[in-house]
């Protein structure tokens, strides 16, 4: 999948550079114009959008009387950008009067708000893709049985579409493809970012630290996956499978213990990592794009980003894996205006808006054409994510994964203070991770 994505990106970079510039949302003055403009916008996907989509939209416009009330939740940082985009959306349909309320909800925890009362949640909301299984199970996502202005499945990279689907059905619109983790480092300190052992030597010489958050299942996963041990969601969409306790698991634990023992690799959460970078204590971090900006400012020209390094586990050099992450736009099936909510979600994830989002907010597009633009390609963080892509999997895991994995990481990061047998640690963790979701 990942390799396919890369080749698509590279291929389309050559051929479609010219087209991406045309995605500018020219204000269509009447619906007929819009129908013509829409297929063009999605470039290669044009044949998929049949005439009946246009009919359906016209139908919807005709059947809409009065004001269309919609609520949209996006992240705090996205508010200003989204406000502008909403105006463009409204002007696409001049015959319809919209009353769109924009609210701020963190993308990483929007599930908590939505699930506490699905019927009162926003009509359209953005969320990090790891919440998709809980949201679908709770009936908080409208299945996207049909798209109207462009073909979502073919316009976005395969992995993002995969992340937006559950059980073969598409439930959300991919918006960004940069929500995974990679490594960024201060190239004035770290000379060789390809192996963690070399990095440790460099950092030690400069008396600086490398930040990796072990007590978080999201990051801890990368070490186990590096030796082929996995944790995945079962088909029921709720429980997990995990074989971390299989052969090689204890080697992973020992490696982490050894790393922490060097005193150079330090278990740091997001907040501490940021302060560490600003204070000049941290010279490299395994983290995401949301903190890369801080590092870029702190390190200036010596800021570099790369794929995760290799690390010696057992007696082999293993490439660290990662979770890739996507931000998606979902539609609430309890919305009174499902049709308009779907069209709004389509617009928010269209190629033009994804390109504009990258320009305004530096967020990596999931749209194939938008991602192929030279500006996107030259962004260090996004390039590092692309380099990490072959070693990453979309994160889809049930809720029972987090607490046991967190505790396992915490025990290892604090040097296994009780000296518990490593195999026993893994057995208990796996028991918790794979536990049934309440009988």
């Amino acid at each position: 999948m990942k390799r396919k994505f890369l080749s698509i990106v590279l291929a389309s970079a050559m051929t479609l550079v010219a087209m991406t510039g045309c995605g500018n949302p020219d204000v269509a003055t009447d619906p007929a114009d819009m129908e013509m403009a829409a297929p063009e916008e999605s470039g290669a996907a044009a044949p998929e959008v049949a005439a009946d989509s246009a009919d359906a939209i016209q139908n919807l416009i005709n059947n809409t009387s009065g004001t269309v009330d919609l609520t949209l939740w996006t992240s705090e940082e996205d508010q200003e950008f989204t406000q502008k985009v909403l105006e463009d959306f409204k002007s696409l349909y001049p015959d319809v009067s919209f009353n769109i309320t924009l609210g701020a909800e963190s993308e990483s925890t929007v599930k908590d708000t939505v699930l506490s009362d699905v019927e009162a949640a926003a009509d359209v909301y953005t969320f990090a893709h790891d919440q998709i299984n809980d949201l679908v199970n709770a009936g908080a996502l409208q299945e996207i049985a049909k798209t109207y202005t462009f073909d979502v499945a073919s316009a976005n990279i395969d992995t993002s579409v995969e992340a937006a689907s559950l059980g073969g059905k598409l439930y959300a619109y991919p918006m960004t493809a940069d929500n995974g983790y990679f490594m960024f480092y201060d190239s004035s300190v770290i000379k060789d970012p390809s192996s963690l052992e070399n990095m440790i030597a460099d950092a030690k010489a400069a008396n600086k630290k490398i930040a990796i958050q072990f007590n978080n299942g999201w990051y801890l996963y990368s070490f186990f996956k590096a030796v082929g041990l996995d944790a995945t969601l079962n088909d029921d969409g709720k429980t997990n499978s995990c074989n971390w306790d299989a052969e090689g698991g204890t080697d992973v634990c020992q490696t982490i213990l050894d790393l922490v023992n060097t005193g150079v690799v330090v278990n740091m959460d997001d907040g501490t990592t940021v302060t560490g970078i600003q204070d000049g204590v941290v010279c490299a971090a395994v983290n995401g794009i949301w903190n890369a900006q801080v590092a870029a400012e702190a390190w200036g020209d010596s800021y570099e980003a790369a794929k995760l390094p290799t690390v010696k586990i057992g007696d082999k050099d293993c490439q660290l894996s990662s979770y890739s992450g996507f931000k998606l736009v979902g539609v609430n099936p309890h919305s009174k205006n499902v049709g308009w909510a779907m069209l709004l979600a389509e617009y928010l994830t269209s190629e033009a808006v994804q390109t504009a989002r990258f320009q305004a907010r530096n967020l990596g597009p999931s749209n194939i054409n938008a991602a192929a633009s030279p500006e996107v390609q030259s962004d260090k963080a996004i390039a590092a994510l692309a380099a990490q892509a072959p070693y990453s999997t979309p994160q889809v895991i049930g809720g029972n994964f987090w607490a046991p994995a967190e505790t396992l990481g915490q025990i290892l990061a604090s040097g296994n203070p009780d000296g518990t047998d490593l195999q026993k640690l893994l057995n208990t963790a796996v028991e918790g991770i794979t536990a049934p979701v309440s009988e």
């Binding site: 908590d112 099936p333 208990t428």
Partner: protein
């Protein structure tokens, strides 16, 4: 004495209940034909007695009740045994861009409406009984040619002689709506399987009997809930005790110190502490949490001046880490939480204690001084008993509040503290969790409403027991004279 008094009171209560029904019996037996017909057509008695407005009002209430019963009451109550059987199904029409939704059951709404309906039925029955008695009373008055109140006089009564009824009705209604019904719902949910797999409106939940309680208390092999529950309950009590008494004693000592004659600029010191109250507690707590983070400012100071190393030599900090795990290892975190709570809690207690200290009868202290009692003796034998006497009830309610002290624990440990006890982790609990913070996490992050309800019931029972003790024992009315 107290025992005797109690049985007397209880007897009174049962007698009152008996009387209540005897009166109803009399009214039904002795009523004339209109009174008897009023059992079915409720306003009839009033209308026959020329109380037209009242009659119409009563009829209106009856009509509303019957309408409610048929529109939402009975449909919901009839599903109360299963909590609904029809799952929500929506079909999307790609041409009209609309969802067609079937007529589905929402288990939670059924539960809520059923409980409300039962409540409304009880209220209506009470109203019905009162109405019959009232009509019977009027009938008797008429036969004796006594004056019968007009509607105007009745209304006048409600703001005059019976003003207490008017005044009480709103708070009582509030208590029923805001406290009693939610508590009943909470109790009901504890007997259902309302969790992540059964979330309305998309899924149904249903009754499962005592299974959740067995899961919590039984400590079966398949779940670590029992183990987690015992640990959390234990720490909840230890915490409530420590938090209450450390701040209480600390507050008294601080007030005593500032009150003592050696201290100058008393007002300045006092206001200094009041300023710390003026800063919202959660701001203080979040700041402190950052100070004591593993790579926070306190740790870098401790590391640079050798305290970390000293503690490592003492064996209080593991050698495999380079920081003091203030809020990240179980024992350190518990210690720090209590210490930080002392720090944020003392100013309040100090203010209260200052007020109490200022009211200590001076003659007793002077008498003690004449008897050459040492300051410690005065404190131990006069000041402390006096403060304990005055603040006893407050102390117990503080204890109850600390059992539910969500803020301090949650703000200091959320996102920072990671448990190293794998059995606790598998039950989504942490060593530093109180029952309430555990409950909060279960609902907020795992949507395990059924287990949260069970824990909620237990918290409720614990708190009620302590509150009842504080109201009956400590605040018994005759204690006023006991203090000498």
């Amino acid at each position: 004495m107290a025992g005797l008094e109690k049985t007397k009171k209880e007897k009174n209560f049962w007698e009152a209940v008996q009387e209540y029904f005897v009166e109803l019996g009399k009214a039904l037996a002795g009523g004339n034909i209109t009174t008897k017909l009023s059992t079915v057509f409720m306003g009839l008695g009033h209308i026959f007695n020329y109380q037209y407005v009242k009659g119409i009002l009563v009829f209106a209430i009856q009509a509303l009740f019957v309408a409610y019963l048929f529109v939402t009451g009975i449909p919901n109550l009839s599903k109360f045994d299963t909590l609904g059987t029809v799952k929500r199904e929506a079909v999307f029409d790609p041409l009209t861009l609309q969802n067609t939704v079937n007529d589905y059951d929402n288990s939670f709404m059924i539960l809520l409406s059923s409980v409300s309906t039962i409540f409304i039925i009880i209220l209506f029955v009470l109203f019905w009984i009162a109405n019959i008695k009232n009509i019977y009373k009027i009938q008797k008055k008429r036969s004796l040619n006594k004056h019968v109140n007009s509607i105007k006089e009745d209304i006048k009564d409600l703001v005059g002689k019976k003003f207490h009824l008017t005044l009480l009705s709103l708070p009582v209604l509030g208590v029923i709506l805001m406290n009693i019904i939610p508590i009943l719902i909470l109790i009901a949910v504890a007997f259902t399987n309302y969790d992540q797999n059964h979330m309305p409106p998309n899924e149904l939940f249903t009754w499962i009997g005592f299974r959740n309680f067995v899961k919590l208390f039984g400590g079966s092999v398949s779940s670590s809930f029992g183990y987690a529950f015992r640990k959390v309950l234990n720490w909840t009590f230890v915490w409530a005790f420590l938090a209450t008494f450390t701040t209480f004693i600390g507050g008294i000592l601080m007030a005593q110190l500032i009150n003592s004659t050696v201290i100058k600029y008393k007002r300045f010191w006092r206001s200094l502490f009041v300023i710390s109250i003026a800063v919202p507690q959660f701001v203080t707590l979040l700041l402190v949490r950052n100070f004591f983070a593993d790579s926070g400012i306190v740790n870098s100071i401790c590391a640079s001046c050798g305290i970390t190393k000293f503690l490592q030599d003492m064996g209080l900090v593991s050698r495999s880490i380079t920081y003091i795990p203030f809020l990240t290892s179980p024992n350190w975190a518990k210690f720090m939480i209590v210490m930080i709570n002392i720090w944020v809690g003392i100013p309040y207690q100090m203010l209260i204690a200052t007020g109490v200290l200022m009211n200590i009868p001076k003659d007793q202290i002077e008498a003690a001084k004449i008897d050459r009692a040492s300051p410690f003796q005065i404190f131990r034998n006069i000041t402390l008993p006096y403060i304990l006497f005055i603040q006893g009830p407050a102390l117990i309610s503080d204890f109850v509040r600390n059992i539910n002290n969500f803020g301090v624990i949650y703000l200091l440990t959320q996102d920072v503290y990671v448990t190293t006890d794998q059995a606790l982790a598998n039950a989504h609990a942490k060593e530093v969790d109180l029952l309430v913070t555990w409950l909060f996490r279960l609902t907020q992050e795992y949507y395990d409403y059924k287990m949260a309800s069970v824990i909620g019931i237990i918290v409720f029972i614990i708190c009620s027991v302590f509150t009842i003790i504080s109201f009956t024992r400590v605040m018994a009315g005759d204690r006023e004279e006991t203090y000498q």
